[in-house]
Amino acid sequence: MAQKKFVVGCFDEEKVLFPAVKQVRTAGYKIKDVYTPFAVHGLDHALGMRETSLHTAGFIYGITGTATAVSAISWIFTKDWPLNIGGKPHFALPAWIPIIFELTVLFAAVGMVMTFCWLCQLAPGVKKHHFHKRATDDLFVMVIECTDKTNTDDLLAFLKSNGAIETDVQVAEEEWWFGTYDKEDDLYNTKQVAL
């Protein structure tokens, strides 16, 4: 796992953030990510991300649930142990609709949540570098990846001129890890929070 150098710019308004994202991208910098306290609609497109396919995965899981229910129940009731219930048909599809539906929903929901956690690499105990404490409170934190050619001073000034209220340079681990937080990742009340 590699440590990399990042330039961080914090914005406090959506309407400043969007033009800034555009400027930074036009200038050719590579935005690693923008960390926001809530879902900012349209930001994913502004960053040039493609649509997520999570819902397609959900559909596939749902169909899997349907197939599981239909095949399991029909095998059990027609092959494995055909039970005579008042002479009614063994293959009683209408009576199975509730369970087929429930399993469809169950598979889709569980599958999607697990896929979501896998894609976003979220799990209990997972630690990631936090570029700014207030990214989950009230700041939109833009993180730009530095290359050998990046002039950090220029970039910091560029971010400031585009409305960033705070900027800094951080060397950070990109990936997640298990264990403890960094020692510079100190507690909330020990850090001066400008309001």
Partner: protein, 481 residues
């Protein structure tokens, strides 16, 4: 007031002028301070009730179902009444979070988190009743279909009782996933504000390492939307299936096609009443009146009067059909066992009518809908009424069946039956007190999302919009979505 056109109908979703940080502070304050004395008192009462419930169950498990006053024809008494009652209550949360999300109702954000939590706890309580009603509870795993050494002896997939097993367990799982995935960003907010190492560690574990990355938010939105789309038919299916437990039988008073919609409406009705009871207290105690506003209470009361009236129509339809069908058993059940005030259980039918159909009609008045005390009182009344409804359906249909020789004696519960019910109250409130102490009761991130789209924070934006010529506005916005 600077803007020319201000809606008189649409109220702001959040009162007062707030910024994002203020929202965080306001909502997270209750979980960052020491709990009040009131919290401890409430919590200990809840735990005491829970312990009494555990004792009642100990009696039931050790000595058998005979500890309850169920008898030959009343095989379902308080326990199944309580089961249906709790499941019904468990419907509001998912309705608020899923159906209102699909209908783009912004007001859901103030109440969805607490309502979802309530749903999960209510379903947990509901599940206890059928499980312990099995009698030999240690064999409860027999309801799971898996290849076993008993034949293999499979469960009956054609039985509504098994549909219920699947429906309730799926509903619980999906509600839990929906609730917890929505909580992740807010738990991350708590983690990043932690003032002790322990809090940072525990909320760090609980928040799964959420960072707020744009890509994660994009997937999160997609996940919420699809889960909402799945939960909407799910929430309707669950109470439909619960109603099938009755409707597919041949008992007069149960054997009706009206049951599914009637049960679903009743479930939403009682669920919203429970949400009102809880949130009216929570908003006051936690000082969240700017977020759970009178407007929210007003809107939920509208849902209550609507669903209460649907339930009322269902009652009247049943009475009508009891006569119109010319089936003497149906007629006897509806017109004697239920609607005749001086029959043994006539009091419960009229109690139900008074609580569920007549009293909610006061919510046609705007003044009453916006009165916190009336709402709180009514929310309790509605829940009593909905409990009576299930009691009426179950007991009045069972206590006199086709043969007068097997008519049962008057049924009243034993102390352990009541104790079991009180125990589930204990479980519910123990969970709710812990939730209110350790989790944000309002969805912080979602409030931040609606903050700039409604109320004071929206006004400066709107002033500019108003000043623009209409043509330009249309040109700018016509292709926005």
């Amino acid at each position: 007031m600077h803007i020319k056109y201000e809606s008189q109908l649409r109220e702001p979703l959040v009162y007062g002028e707030k910024n994002f940080h203020q929202v965080t502070e306001d909502i997270l304050r209750p979980i960052e301070v020491k709990p009040s004395r009131l919290w401890y008192i409430g919590f200990f009462i809840a735990v005491a009730l829970l312990l009494f419930g555990v004792f009642s169950l100990y009696r039931e498990v050790t000595y058998g179902i005979g500890q309850w006053n169920l008898n030959k024809t009343i095989g379902w008494g308080w326990d199944i009444t309580n089961f249906v009652w709790w499941v019904g209550i468990g419907h509001a949360g998912t309705l608020i979070s899923a159906v209102l999300l699909l209908f783009r109702q912004g007001w859901r954000t103030g109440v969805n988190r607490a309502a979802e939590a309530m749903t999960i706890f209510a379903v947990m309580c509901a599940g206890q009743f059928p499980i312990f009603h099995m009698g030999r509870v240690w064999l409860a795993f027999f309801i799971m279909p898996y290849p076993n050494s008993r034949g293999p002896l499979w469960v009956n997939f054609n039985s509504p009782l098994l549909w219920d097993v699947f429906a309730i367990s799926t509903y619980f799982t999906v509600s839990l996933l929906f609730w917890y995935s929505g909580l992740l960003p807010d738990l991350a907010t708590v983690r990043d504000r932690a003032f002790t190492k322990l809090r940072q560690k525990l909320y760090g574990i609980a928040s799964f390492g959420w960072t707020g990355s744009t890509k994660h938010w994009q997937r999160h939105e997609s996940l919420s939307l699809v889960l909402a789309g799945l939960s909407t038919p799910l929430v309707l299916s669950v109470h439909t299936i619960v109603s099938f437990d009755f409707a597919t039988s041949v008992i007069p008073g149960w054997h009706t096609t009206i049951f599914p919609p009637y049960f679903v409406a009743g479930a939403i009705f009682s669920g919203f009443a429970m949400v009102q009871s809880l949130l009216i207290v929570v908003r006051k105690v936690f000082g969240l009146t700017d977020y759970i506003t009178i407007g929210h209470i007003d809107l939920m009361n509208k849902v209550i009067v609507l669903t209460g009236s649907i339930v009322g129509i269902a009652y009247l339809t049943e009475l009508f059909m009891g006569w119109y069908s010319q089936n003497k058993y149906e007629g006897y059940t509806f017109w004697y066992s239920r609607a005749y005030l001086f029959s043994p259980y006539g009091w419960s039918y009229w109690g139900m009518m008074a609580c569920n159909v007549l009293s909610p009609q006061i919510f046609w008045s705007r003044k009453m809908r916006r009165n916190v005390f009336v709402t709180f009182f009514m929310s309790i009344i509605v829940n009593i009424g909905m409990w009576f409804e299930r009691f009426v359906i179950i007991v009045t249909s069972l206590y006199r069946d086709y043969l007068p020789s097997s008519w049962s004696v008057y049924y009243s519960p034993s102390i352990y039956e009541v104790g079991f019910y009180l125990g589930t109250f204990g479980l519910f409130f123990t969970c709710f007190f812990l939730f209110a102490k350790y989790f944000p009761v309002i969805a912080v991130a979602e409030i931040k999302y609606v903050l700039k789209r409604s109320g004071e924070s929206f006004k400066p934006e709107f002033e500019k919009l108003e000043a623009e010529p209409l043509d330009k506005f249309v040109h700018d916005n016509a292709h926005a979505h």
